[in-house]
Symmetry: C2
Subunit: 329 residues, 2 copies
DNA sequence: CTGAAAGCGCTTACAG
DNA sequence: CTGAAAGCGCTTACAG
């Protein structure tokens, strides 16, 4: 059996109350007693049971993180940052890969409630997850979920503008946008609106192709093929995800397009991973660290019952100028 | 206040015991009672507290996963698989990104113990993590930790052999190996041994360069530069990580080497992500799904106290033939 | 088929 | 400065 606080008490010759006090550094305890208790804990190799603590304190220091998948550069980087920041602040992360499936998300949500997590960070684009009565502190990244929930994101409209302008300035005449599933309320929709606005302002006609699932590249290749078939004269593409941009670039090259001479391409996300292995790809960089930091900090404030004025926080994005839009690196 | 089992009992007009029985589907209960209880649970929106349950049952269905970082294609893919498989089997994942720091790993290990996780899956290359007396079920991926701990990995020796032979068969004369930190006991060491054996068998002299940290590309560029400076006639490189391979390839190209004409390169890991955005890169594919599956299943067997004969499980790797070793795709 | 009681391991008023 | 008692929310023998 694992030793418990009673065992420590017995060995140290004090009461469980005292051991608990030493453990929590609470109230006045003579230094001799403290030493005795510490010695006893060491002797029998005592490890506190956080389950019992949490049950009493109604506080688990557990944060649920729901993301589509860690196996994607953007979410991988985001989760990495979230976990690191949580850990620094004494919180633990319960990881939930929802695969973008609404049903799975609901199951995870229930599970997190049963496990008494202190709060949840959600990165998902399905509707109707958080409309339940029984609620707890939650923060959402990149997506408006419900009135009472703080949402943090980077400036997707600004990103869409930047990307489109970058292509225009690079001299592109026929700029096409590739976006994800139009039915999901992803932040990429904002990027599309920005693209359309910039195009209109420049007196051009916007054209967007939608791929079924940004994350699963294989299912997208058909749309990419269709795009080139229907628009052989395309000379600028703004893809709302770096992986999609890379896939498009490769297909274009296989058709004989020279990048950036015949066709310029810009992606989105600009994770450290992609920038380091694909430095040539122009892209819009999302500040994942800042997003993660704000999400965690706001959530903790909410957990602590501290008021945080902001219901929404948006961070600026930045442009990574690569060869694929004609820059020399 | 959140409703508890007592509240349900009151509303349903039964005892807490009965509610608990209904909840756990245990013992005989009349169907009318069941219905009353379910109705009451729904009415007051009851959600069971798994903390209390776990405290009593001494079983949390929580699995700790310690990895260097989710922000790396190989670990990202691995964690993704582990989480998915755990979830399918009713387990939850407590994520720990250790950043390869021994001290952080120890802290995480303690935290996991305090949180009463049922078991741990460790992917780390530091020594001396699990020598503590107070132990619980654990499985290690890719690294021998201690006598009693099951280790699952893919065949790193086979991978090293395959990679080296691939370069030899492609006609390379001067084959150099790039590996990670020689002080960490990573599985990559096996790959190096295999490389050395194949080289010796072919009557050649092996030469290995070590980069400080495979995961952080920036810190590696100096070593790569040195390699090319000291061996301008290199015509084959086996890098023990795809990111490293890609970085090396890019640097070589910047020096004017044509790939694969002047220089052939093969990487390692072969994650779905890298294969889809860098299909040209020859690499050794590790079966991350199988590794994850075996790790989770073995761990659960251990948790359940079922005997599992194997102390070690090794899965075969496979070769991805890309343009960087001269294949036409 | 159902309930009262004790206990999982910890903590915190309340006394002293 | 220290201890006995009650309670966090649940479950399981033990009776009936």
């Amino acid at each position: 059996m694992k030793p418990k606080i009673q065992d420590v008490a017995k060995v140290a010759g004090v009461s469980p109350t005292t051991v608990s006090r030493v453990l929590n550094d609470r109230g006045y305890i003579s230094s001799k007693t403290k030493e005795k208790v510490f010695a006893a804990m060491k002797e029998i190799n005592y490890i506190p049971n956080d389950l019992a603590r949490s049950l009493y304190n109604k506080r688990t220091y557990l944060i649920g993180v729901i993301v589509p998948s860690t196996n994607h550069p953007f979410f991988g980087e985001l989760v990495d940052n979230i976990e690191r920041i949580c850990n620094d602040k004494g919180y633990k992360v319960l990881l939930c890969n929802s695969l973008q499936e609404a049903e799975k998300e609901k199951k995870y949500w229930d599970m997190l409630q049963r496990n008494q997590v202190d709060g949840v960070i959600v990165v998902t684009y399905n509707r109707g997850l958080v409309d339940k009565e029984q609620q707890f502190p939650a923060v959402v990244i990149d997506h408006y979920l419900s009135e009472n929930i703080h949402v943090v994101s980077s400036d997707n409209f600004q990103g869409g503008e930047m990307a489109t302008k970058e292509l225009i300035e690079a001299g592109c005449e026929n700029i096409i946008h590739i976006n994800g599933d139009v039915n999901l309320e992803t932040p990429a929709n904002e990027r599309q609106y920005a693209y359309e606005k910039v195009m209109h302002d420049a007196g051009r006609i916007p054209l967007t192709y939608h791929v079924p699932n940004v994350a699963y590249l294989e299912s997208n290749i058909d749309i990419i093929k269709q795009l080139f078939k229907e628009n052989p004269d395309v000379d600028g593409i703004f893809a709302s995800d770096d992986l999609l941009a890379i896939r498009t670039l490769q297909y274009a090259e296989s058709l004989g397009y020279k990048i950036p001479e015949d066709l310029k391409i810009i992606g989105y996300d600009g994770t450290g991973l992609i920038r380091s292995i694909y430095p040539d790809l122009s892209t819009i960089i999302q500040p994942t660290y800042q997003i993660a930091e704000n999400a965690v900090e706001t959530l903790i404030q909410e957990i602590d019952g501290k008021p945080h004025d902001l219901k929404e926080k948006t961070f600026p994005v930045s442009l990574w100028k690569g060869k694929t839009t004609g820059h020399v690196t």
